[in-house]
Symmetry: none
Subunit: 225 residues, 4 copies
DNA sequence: GCTTAACCGAGACGGTACGTCCAGTCTTCCA
DNA sequence: TGGAAGACTGGACGTACCGTCTCGGTTAAGC
């Protein structure tokens, strides 16, 4: 729901008020479908313009690169999905964090991570998401944007949930929530991005288990401390 | 009596025996230096050929793409580094796994992860490594190769070290070493790849601590509380 | 309502109305000067584009080959020359045929052929003309075009002049003008094209003499001898 | 039948005595067949070498260019044809000139020119001959060779025949035989090379008729008409 | 008859140009 | 004036050949 167009313009900024909503939607659709069909590297701005029935200049006027188009298209897709999901399940009990909070941290995490894995494997989601991640790898400025706008909001939910658990005494006091969150989120990210191993519910369950209770044999026993 | 054509080729396979070592080295050097100077996306095969003083066809004869060139160049670089390192520190006490094994799992892991982070931040290493990761994101076949040849060998060392610790009774019996290894390796990977947070020695130390002993308050410990 | 696509194109025909006149002229100039400087075979499309300050695609968009470019450039050159000549000598008395018609066939032919030889030896004219002829030798379709557009118009003038002489009773009745014209035109063409002998005014005068009056000793003439 | 190898060598001249006759023949055959199949411009030295089962260097060692290979191959072909023809018709009565000399100049010329036209239209002959002519158009040095070795010998026969007729009083005394010969030879050459008109027996008969007796009405003959 | 120098097939090499595809800019004409 | 259309300059693509250069292997001359 941003009013100001975050995308800066080269010469004199175009008048966003007169912008064609029709073209914008067509460009989003064309970009996403092309990436799904022929992959991101073979998707070209010319191709997007042609499929969208739009002049190339219309794209260059409002976006600075293929990656920017994709990022907005992807965010738009997510918004639509979120709206649709919200309509279907109107009364999901969630904590202040936005993640379920039944009081049982392990169960909550397992549930959410299973759902996350399922979403990551959705083909409509996978191609653009990977493309954005790839772009970020070689363009630090883009990466910064990508992380801030797309990645961080999701990751913060986990940190918030852990903080809440910490306040409830279920997580040790000194634990840094951001680091702790990485213990189960990053392994999923890496297996999804790089395919370093199978990515399934058993795996995510194990991650939660190990992260919560540690892998060391009887660590910090009562006699210890 | 033609030798076995180990190199897979498109048309009639070139004769690897008559390959010019001089050109191969020059191509590696040119590729790595260009990637360092102008970045991977702006590095072109023509540019590599020009800087290496080599015909384009010589590149296309032996490699299928810019990414393949880079991968071999990077592997060659690693080999050289490894050889150089081995010469400098001839008698490092390592376990059968290839990682240090002093008996103190936490200390060993912290030491290795700190070193890993330092290496990841080496500018000579960073640009090509990120480029390879990026390429893998949009080319599954390449990703498979990349993971198998470059990533997995490193990751397996951690799993082996954990297995050894498990046999020594320092890690709980049921723990899956591959999953456990991801607990401290993947967070580092993600912070390096995507910049989701600071990547320093304090972070890696925390990861080891959390992964070994868990983040839950007195986990599964009846006497605790 | 797209204009009639007079220009035959491969894919979707480009819009000739939006063609850049500037580029077209620059391409003509570059092509002709390069052919003059380094010769036709060593003239490349890339070279023409570079000297003309034009993208290669602009050439490929409007022409199918180096030879086509040259043909149009050469025709353009001829048009300019003709226009310039017409301005300089506004009132040259010519017959309906376009060739001088003073009533003295032999004198008229000698005059025109001498001028033709002089033109053939003009270095600005020679290189491209020879190149076009050469191209026609190995490309029948091109030859057809070349003959029809460039060669035949000139040759037809001679046939017309002969026909006019025939009607005036200066040429025997049964004579085929096309064949007769070849008697003095083709020898010039061959000496120019292949260098089978010296090409000068004496030669062309002789040709006219021989062709008009025959080489046989008092042929078919009972009263003669 | 020259003993000295007319072809100059770049570095140290190769030893012609040790030359492989087998390869030479194979190269001739490959060159001629390729030119017949795909045309001269698309025939490459690599292609000739491949079809001949010969290394590229073997061609570069003995010839300086594709055109030189073709020229020798063509001359070899002509020699073989001449030998074969001589065997078939052992006792053709020819004059000292090498052309038939029955005393009837017109008839002799018509006969030979008809045969020449037939030969020009032989597909085995046409492709290489046109290619050689084309090459000569853009390479003066090659043209000189081509004319001297291949064209001139044939043309000289006509001049010689005309000189003989001149001595017999059938051709006017002042006539230059070289110019006179061009009157019927060059038109055939041009129609064959450039396709400026139909090339058949009727045409060549007409050429002889016109050249011998002139096209002018009763030329220079006061008593006539 | 045994060396030895060369020609030979083969093909990798540094290059040049090909003809195609897109990037990003600019222009024209329409709504 | 935003947008559809697309021509423009420019540059990289991957391919085809060029002419040069090794590399064994064969083969004929000279010892």
């Amino acid at each position: 729901m941003s009013a100001t167009p975050a995308t800066p313009a080269k010469k004199t900024a175009p008048d966003a008020a007169r912008r064609s909503e029709r073209s914008r939607r067509a460009i989003y659709d064309a970009a996403l479908s092309l990436i799904g069909e022929i992959g991101y590297p073979r998707t070209t701005i010319e191709g997007i313009a042609a499929r969208a029935g739009v002049g190339k200049q219309t794209i260059y006027r409002w976006w600075g690169s293929k990656a920017e188009v994709l990022m907005e298209a992807f965010m738009d897709l997510n918004e639509q999905n979120a709206r649709a999901a919200a309509e279907q399940h109107p009364g999901t009990p969630v904590g202040a964090s936005g993640l379920p909070d039944t009081g049982d941290l392990a169960a909550d995490l397992k549930r959410v991570l299973r759902a996350t894995v399922d979403e990551l494997k959705d083909p409509r989601f996978e191609a653009p998401a990977r493309a954005l991640a790839a772009e970020g790898l070689s363009d630090p400025a883009f990466a910064e944007n990508f992380v801030r706008k797309l990645l961080m909001p999701g990751l913060d939910l986990y940190a918030a949930r852990l903080r809440s658990a910490q306040e409830a005494g279920q997580v040790r006091a000194g634990i840094d929530p951001e680091t702790a969150r990485d213990l189960f989120v990053s392994p999923i990210a890496q297996r999804w991005l790089q395919g370093t191993g199978p990515l399934d519910h058993a795996y995510t369950d194990r991650l939660v288990e190990y992260a919560l209770y540690g892998i060391a044999a009887r660590p910090r026993d009562p006699e210890a401390d």
